[in-house]
């Protein structure tokens, strides 16, 4: 290991310690914004672990996140189980689902995968509503805990750190290297001996795991859970946008996208609540036409130019 490979995690550790002090300094409004941002940091970073190297656009985040929130809701309301038990079960269920989806779609071309994940959250929402209405009775699901916003924030921070640490380890592993090769040329990847389908499925499972975990941990924030609210297709798109805006090619890329986007999103939602969809569309086009590699790509480009100039 050379010194540069430790530089990033060291900086990350300092950033994490600073981030941990947020609930001690911020007021209630800004803490609430921070919780949202931390949620998206965990979601986007784990999304980029899979989609960054493979270039597969996953829109399944909303579905996994919803599974997390819904299972916590139904477990606590319908079966009187503890929050902790459900928060442990939910990610496992999502991981299994991710494995099944991955096995069915990831051996085919990327388009099938995008299409399959596109309607997934909506489909599961319909299915869950139907089951809830016909078999469980349509009572509301309550998630009553003693957690404050600060607790939720800290839990999300821990999850985000785990995602980061995992990403750091994966990037240094054969699996991470395999994914970079797959992203370059899947056919070459197979012929150098990489089990391409398996590598992709494993990474997709980890994004499923973390999305459901985040969904479960943030459920107490809403107190009242409704399938229509937790299985949100919009969430999947927001995660994609933030990760790509920052740059999915680097581990810290999504972080760079989440923070400005959350602030602007907050502003747009308050100032022009009817134009949020339009705004999302414009940001998508901005990414494709102006920032194809996100902020990170721009930063790299500027660095390169500065270096050339100094020579």
């Amino acid at each position: 290991m050379n010194s540069t490979s430790w530089k990033e995690p060291s900086i990350a550790a300092i950033v994490a310690i600073l981030a941990a002090s947020v609930p001690l300094v911020f007021d209630a409004y800004w803490l609430s914004v921070s919780v949202t941002a931390m949620m998206y940091i965990a979601l986007s970073t784990s999304w980029a672990l899979f989609s960054g190297p493979t270039h597969y656009i996953s829109l399944a985040t909303g579905a996994f996140f919803g599974i997390g929130g819904y299972l916590v809701g139904t477990g606590m309301s319908d079966y009187n189980l503890s929050f902790w038990l459900m928060a442990a079960i939910a990610p496992i269920v999502a991981t299994i689902l991710a494995a099944l989806i991955g096995l069915a779609t990831l051996r085919l071309s990327g388009v099938y995968f995008v299409i399959f994940t596109l309607g997934l959250a909506e489909m599961i929402r319909n299915l869950v509503s139907w089951i809830q209405n016909n078999f469980l009775g349509s009572r509301g699901l309550y998630v009553l805990t003693d957690f404050t916003e600060s607790h939720i924030y800290w839990m999300l921070l821990i999850i985000a750190c785990c995602v980061y640490l995992l990403g750091w380890l994966v990037n240094r592993s054969r699996l991470g290297f395999a994914l970079r090769i797959i992203g370059n040329d899947e056919s070459v990847a197979k012929h150098v001996g990489i089990n391409t389908a398996m590598s992709k499925v494993i990474l997709f499972m980890t994004t499923g795991f973390f999305a459901a975990l985040v969904g479960a941990v943030i459920a107490p924030r809403y107190t009242y859970i409704e399938p229509n609210q937790v299985f949100s297709p919009e969430l999947s798109f927001l995660v994609v946008i933030m990760a790509l805006l920052g740059g999915a090619g680097r581990l810290w890329g999504p972080l760079v996208g989440v923070i400005p986007f959350t602030l602007i999103w907050e502003f747009v939602s308050i100032q022009a609540p009817n134009s949020t969809t339009l705004f999302l569309g414009l940001v998508f086009l901005l990414i494709v036409y102006v920032l194809p590699h996100g902020f990170v790509g721009r930063i790299d480009q500027i660095n390169k130019k500065l270096k050339e100039r100094s020579h």
Binding site: F177, I181, G183, N184, K190, H191, V192, G193, N195
Partner: protein, 245 residues
Amino acid sequence: MRQTGSVLSVNGVTKRFGGLVAVDNLSFDVAEHEVMGIIGPNGSGKTTMMNMISGSFKPTAGAISMKGARISDLPAQEIARRGVGRTFQLVRLLPSLSVLENVVAGAVFGHRKRWGRDAEDQAHRMLERVGLEAMAYAPISALTYIDQKRLELARVLAGEPEILLLDEWLAGLNPTEMETGIELIHDLRREGRTIILVEHVMDAIRSLCDRCVVMSSGAKIAEGTPEDVLSDREVIRAYLGDDDA
């Protein structure tokens, strides 16, 4: 048909794409340390045959075995892990990786798994082997065409394949590059490697191959030493058409 000491044997292999028969009931064996050429006119099914050996395609009928074990129903990555390495007809590199990393890719997941220092050392050795060491830290975009071909070969060699498949590795090279290229394959031959190559360059076939299989319209029309098959009437007819025979 089956010889003792054969490393790879192709038995009655047929490949259909819809109604088109690309490879028709083809059989041949490759012995250890042998350089086998697959030649034939364009569209005769040579590359399809290579793709079946490396596992890109599954044969419609027949079997391919390596050291007695059937490999033709295994996925490509499994065949690669068993020691079959290949280059591609149109050279395929990993553009966002450095030259060195391209070769490391071959060393890490190949037939003998290496990692870290070990894999990098192996990659450096292979770059030196193909004469590309000076470019180890260059980006892919800086490579000339023959250097790209060399790099692809280094990637395959890094996996220490027991059988090396070269699909028109000399195609597209200019005369000087061609000489360098032929010399490089000669070196591999001297090392005693088992090689199957698809080639159009007759000089290369004559000087490199121990034996050749000649294909025409998917079927084998001759097999033997390059001298024998290249003077065979049917082979000449397949290449030049009926009038000239």
